[in-house]
Symmetry: D2
Subunit: 310 residues, 4 copies
């Protein structure tokens, strides 16, 4: 397995030149585009890893599946899906159009920005600070159960959060539209503060693979403790399958056949049912915002280990 | 002429039952839907009027042509039309869709909300308060030149302004999208404050007819003083002709053949080139947000006095 | 006047280099892009002209206002406007989107392709051949009344018609969508045949100016015979004002202030109320499909002769 | 297993009253909405079934996955995916909008009408008749391998095909738009004829379950003969997972976690990897065009047998 990962990482280095790092925030733009890492966590929390798997990076949209999981657990399905749908859109992740055109009166799914902002506003806590703390606790619980107890590595990059807050005009526009639709309770700026902070969480690929394992084993942590209900894990995996890689979700589904969630920080979390949690890192992105190296490595891994789930 | 207006006002009273007053703000919803007024101001500032022409009402979107005029005069065409187009949209006045879809990267015209917010942000002054003061001065100049010097009637309804600010979520969403497009300099909330205030200006139909006369006589006030350049007056009239009555602009153009601007407060300002400024009042609105009585009266007046301009 | 036209034509020759001729049909693409002509017809049918005003060209979308006029006369307003709206769209002339999205269930106006196809299907006659014959008769009546009786010049370019029919896939797509909406009676191919043929009518600018005069004088021909009701002429002029120059209608309204209709063959017909019918020719088009030289000449002419109508 | 199916079918009968049969074609509208059937085919071709599983019905959009499979096998991935994407849309199945708006220049996926029309045009054969024959042969091959050799039951309902051809205006509109995009080779009417015919194929639920088994066992028929490559089977299953149930694909993915394809004739084909082919029948449809009873039964079956694949 180590050899396989080493080979995939080596092969993937060529993809760095085929993408470009997210540049909309200076803090993201200065990362080395040649970094590549791949990690795999098994049922017992053991991690096999290769390359840049201990360098923390901004998880960005990967955070959407973490907050969704916690909100499903703490508030229940009805609270979530009365405010957010479960359908793909075919639109860019930051599109505002369907909020105006759709008869649904709510974002199509929790993995586009509009839906994720609504979900973030439902995290346990009365303020942005409390809600972020809830999410960080949840993430630490998931990772801490691992053998090497690396929970200390879970933190928020305040520079990135501040930068997103200062320049996230489109997300503010979406936030106010959601307010009009009655989907954000209380203060819009506070809801956005939660969202900007969760996107700025920093994790390394090894930790991300452990989080992936939570989904792969339907919510059960290494050692047998249950963090999520099977139902929550499956809801989130199904949404990852249909909407996890932005406009490239269908392509990834056809090629890798795995539920996954990408972020513009270069990370991808994936889950191979009953087998592994997976994570890749590679900050050079394709035109749809997905890690070029990550997509290539996870696709190859799916073929090598026959992980195609359908 | 007085007889004609009396007859049109009498005929129009039946239309009150066919529409409903704007209800999105309590302060607007409590107006008497049966009020009807019609006024006409000639080159010398003389006003012929009938019905409820001395009851001030919220001018709402009629303010868009006033701020546009002042900004064209003070900042010039380039400053305006580099940020806002001059084309109709066919979309609702508060639509946000084209800000995302259009290759223009700017609102299609200054009479939809998105365009008007940009224009308001260009009013002379560094703060919302200063910009509103500039606009009020401009409006007073236009009306004060009239024989009865009624400028004192120009005021802002603070209750309406506060209410629009507190509930104008869609306009805030538009404001932040404009910020993303680089079309709002400085603070978005400050720009929106200007916009909400200008919509809350109160005027009566007699005053509105005097403002209409400024356009009808290509910028020249009674007595001969020039308030607007001919060019500015014509630009604004052309935009009123194509986009002045929301989704009903084309219908009104076909039926009345006059440049006009409506507001959801029930007012319509119109200009008959070289003949009269016109204004109607009637708070019962049709499904497109135009005064039912106003459209009917101005259409009839255009036929009776042969005002069709094309 | 002759001097003025000569000067405007001379000035406009430089614009040929700034546009490009319509290339979607070979028959249109082979025209000399440097041709420029300008003509003006007065109440008595006298034509002042300069440049290429006796070279027939494909009138293309200018035909839309001719068929609309005849259908309004022969079938009445209700027949037309129950099937086609009167509002601008902001969309490309050949867009199909609003047929699906709009609650109207009909094209927004008769000057976009969708609306024009519906109108053409309403021309007097049971077949495409009969309907085209009706339209040609109508056009000949309008031109024949002129002093030099040049009606013989009205003909259809069969090569262009065949070419449009063979390659007009988008218009066929629109035609079938209209069929679904219940807006095309009988055979779709027959309705499209009418439309393709009317677009292929050939006229020179001098004749087009005479047609413009029909609108300028509210339907009355030189000599006093009435071809169109005042109402029909005004409806068509109002729609030209708001939708006559594709996505450039608003700009032209602001700059020239005249109702006009352009075609991708390079012609523009305009009407100066009570003064002149106008026509320009110049096959080099801007990005919106309007003649670069034509827009420039008509705008300059409007300023020189103070033709701004609002 | 038989008991389970009997129970699910009995429970599902109540759903007939909650939907309504497809009414756009008289031939579809006259079916009994109370029919309910459920069938399951295992690796060896054995079928367990309950209720109305031997009544042939119009498979409609279920045919899209059959033609896609055959075209992938006969023409290869490149031929298909150069003309059709692999992403969900969030739009109605018969929407034409993205053909105009998308930069892709092709339908988003092969399971919306636009994509399916393109795929049908690629079926082996030079004419609609030949292409339909190819598809019928393929379907018969898949079913004939079953123990009871029921291939004779595969036929086309000519009345339905003729009816769809006569009234399928929207599909004709889509067909011509595809022609404009260069995605339909040769005659549009011929391509549509293939599409209308394939939608009119009649099968019963027992046969449909056998077809489902082809996907469930990655292309291998009972007895071990391979009909599809593993790759083809997986591509089709992945697309079913993301786009198989129209606007309800995401919901079904969350609830049942199975790749499936529905048709407005009331059928649903599904595949449980390595376990069963599944099919349900129930002509009463929900607002999205999916069988109410079918969705309920397959969801319940997924829970009872733990078929959730992610």
């Amino acid at each position: 397995m180590q050899d396989l990962l080493d080979r995939l990482v080596a092969d993937a280095r060529v993809f760095a030149a085929k993408g470009s790092v997210a540049a909309y925030i200076p803090a993201l733009a200065k990362i080395d585009p040649r970094l590549v890492g791949l990690a795999l966590a098994d049922r017992d929390g053991r991690v096999v890893e290769s390359g840049a798997t201990r360098i923390p990076f901004s998880i960005q949209s990967v955070s959407k599946v973490l907050s969704l999981s916690l909100v499903l657990e703490s508030r229940g399905e009805e609270a979530v899906f009365s405010r957010v749908g479960r359908e793909s859109t075919g639109d860019p992740f930051n599109s505002i159009i369907r909020l105006e055109t759709s008869h649904l009166g709510k974002p199509y799914n929790p993995l586009i920005n509009a839906g994720a902002i609504v979900v973030s506003s439902l995290l346990p806590g009365r303020t942005a600070v409390e809600r972020l703390a809830s999410l960080l606790d949840f993430v630490r619980s998931a990772i801490a159960a691992s053998e090497d107890g690396r929970s200390a590595a879970v933190m928020v990059d305040e520079e990135v959060a501040a930068s997103e807050s200062a320049t996230g005009f489109r997300n503010r526009s979406i936030g106010w539209f959601l307010k009009e639709l009655g989907l954000v309770e209380g203060d819009v700026d506070e809801a956005l503060a939660t969202y900007f902070s969760q996107c700025a969480i920093r994790l390394d690929a090894a930790s991300l693979a452990r989080l992936g394992a939570v989904f792969a084993f339907d919510g059960v942590l290494p050692g047998g403790k249950r963090l999520l209900s099977t139902r929550t894990a499956r809801i989130v995996k199904s949404l990852m399958m249909t909407c996890g890689l932005y406009d490239g979700s269908g392509d990834f589904g056809v090629e890798a056949g795995l539920p996954a969630k990408s972020g513009v920080g270069g990370g991808i979390l994936a889950a191979a049912k009953g087998r592994f949690g997976l994570a890749s890192f590679g900050p050079a992105l394709d035109g749809r915002g997905n890690s070029v190296a990550g997509v290539a490595m996870l696709t190859a891994l799916s073929r090598e280990l026959d992980l195609f789930e359908l």
